[in-house]
């Protein structure tokens, strides 16, 4: 599975969402609230073996924004 597929899968599983995850933004769906955000961050850390900084967790406001944040951790999506 490619990193992009893993990245998409984390969103789908964290939010139990079957739509187009690439368009997702924080609070764009009911499931991506403050609790869902923490679940998403934890799932990304586990999937990619990284530990996100607080500033990056706060900046992580959409699927697309997350791609540039993960690049800082040498995870190319």
């Amino acid at each position: 599975m490619s990193n992009r597929e893993k990245y998409q899968s984390v969103f789908k599983e964290s939010f139990q969402y079957e739509g187009d995850v690439e368009q997702l933004e924080y609070q764009g769906i009911e499931e991506w609230d403050s609790v869902g955000h923490m679940q998403l961050m934890a799932a990304l850390e586990e999937t990619f073996g990284i530990e996100l900084d607080v500033d990056d967790i706060i900046d992580f406001s959409s699927f697309k924004k997350g791609i540039s944040i993960l690049a800082k951790y040498k995870v190319e999506i």
Binding site: Q27, S34, V35, A42, V54, I58, S61
Partner: protein, 157 residues
């Protein structure tokens, strides 16, 4: 290693925000912040719910047993200096089991374990006993909203 902490009712009220008539732990002891806590709850017939549940057979409602468990559980992390006095919300309760009836005169002893606490989300479990008899057990996921809010993406409501 520091000695385990103990909290009387005033100490419990400093750590958590539950209050009468919904505070269901009288004393908390053997607390290792970030790891574990034990609690004690004495049920007398003066409890407000016994006349209603039930007038001919008073016993502790299940939701109150679960509250006793979770109120001991949250002491595993609200006993940490930086979290004292914060409100908590349930995110999940799983594997709840009731093993015996609890009646006036019973004392419930609760043992809670924190499995993980990270960025405002705590997971763990608690079990309770009357004497040596198992009474109730459950697994919990609990949030600290104040802490969760610190990690919200910028510009969010």
């Amino acid at each position: 290693m520091d000695s385990p902490l103990h909290f009387d009712i005033n100490g419990i009220k400093e750590c958590q925000r539950n209050r009468h008539p919904l505070l269901f732990v009288d004393r908390v002891f053997d607390v290792v912040p970030g790891e574990k806590a034990s609690g004690l709850k004495c049920f007398s017939y003066n409890e407000w719910f016994f006349p209603a549940h039930f007038d001919d057979e008073p016993n502790v409602p299940g939701f109150i047993q679960v509250e006793s468990l979770v109120q001991t559980f949250i002491m595993t992390f609200l006993s940490k200096d930086e979290l004292r006095g914060k409100k908590t919300n349930f995110l999940g309760i799983n594997n709840v089991k009731f093993k015996r009836k609890i009646v006036p005169g019973n004392t419930l002893v609760i043992h809670a374990t924190l499995q993980s606490y990270r960025r405002g989300i705590a997971t763990g479990s608690a079990v309770s006993f009357v004497g040596e008899d198992p009474a109730c057990s459950a697994d919990f996921v609990v949030a600290v909203p104040d802490v969760l809010d610190q990690f919200k993406p910028k510009g969010a409501a």
